[in-house]
């Protein structure tokens, strides 16, 4: 049978989890910002580089099959020409960045939409980092944390709403309610503290 956690143990665990979360969020923020900048600059200036990267994992295996040696491809073309045509089509589909190469006028829109999405995700991570930062310093039930929780909920609601993802919207709503509840509880506690 395990012993129940004492308040000190709990505090230590919360602080540790906060430190780990803060480190992960910081890493993601730095890495994510660099990656987003790299993606946006490349998409705006050299989209053909993104086509070569072939970032779409959905058709990755098919495209890899298409990149076989010419001799194998020739044999495949002679034996199963319909498969070669199918894989070639898949590669065309896999390269979602090909559109940016073919139509330079679409680059601005792509950069704007991807930039907005990246900003939302990085903003969400920044809020999460604030929350973990408070946990790392032992501040769990505070007005600041309640405010951050509410903002996280709103950020998730916006992200879910933009992406039409009901799961994210529900999660955002739950976090928003949690933050609001915490805020109300803290307000009640503050009022009770003034009853002598």
């Amino acid at each position: 049978m395990t012993n129940p956690a004492t308040p000190n143990d709990l505090d230590r665990r919360i602080r540790r989890a906060g430190k780990i979360g803060r480190f992960l969020c910081s890493t993601f923020l730095i890495g994510g910002t660099l990656l987003a900048l790299l993606l946006l600059i490349t998409a705006a200036t050299h989209p053909e580089a993104l086509v070569k990267l072939n970032l779409d994992s959905k058709h990755g295996a098919q495209v890899a099959g298409f990149r076989q040696s010419p001799a194998k491809l020739l044999a495949l073309l002679l034996e199963k020409p319909e498969e070669v045509i199918h894989v070639a089509g898949a590669q065309q589909e896999a390269n979602k960045y090909q559109d940016l190469v073919d139509h330079p006028e679409k680059r601005g829109g792509f950069v704007a939409v991807t930039g907005l999405l990246a900003t939302l995700i990085l903003g969400f991570t920044w809020l999460l980092r604030q929350l973990f930062d408070a946990f790392a310093e032992g501040r769990v039930i505070t007005a600041d944390n309640a405010r951050v929780l509410k903002r996280l909920g709103i950020a998730l609601l916006v992200c879910g709403g933009l992406g039409l993802n009901a799961g994210i919207v529900v999660a955002g709503l739950l976090i928003l309610i949690l933050g609001w509840n915490l805020q109300q509880a803290l307000a009640l506690q503050a009022e009770q503290a003034l009853v002598i």
Binding site: E191, L194, V195, I196
Partner: protein, 79 residues
Amino acid sequence: MAIIIRLDVALARRKMSLTELSETVGITLANLSVLKTGKAKAIRFSTLEAICRALDCQPGELLEFDAATPPLLADHPEA
């Protein structure tokens, strides 16, 4: 708030300090300070009784109503 706590006056009359009252009544100095500065939202009867016993006074000596101050609750304009 229209209710004014006259704890400082009562203490001065009995030449007692807030620390002494805190020790006699068993209420923290911080809480008594909140009461004295008029920041308290409410006072329990048990607290009032303890203070009245310690200072040997009536509740009326500690509390005062100032009709000129605007009401705290909107739905009780004259209460």
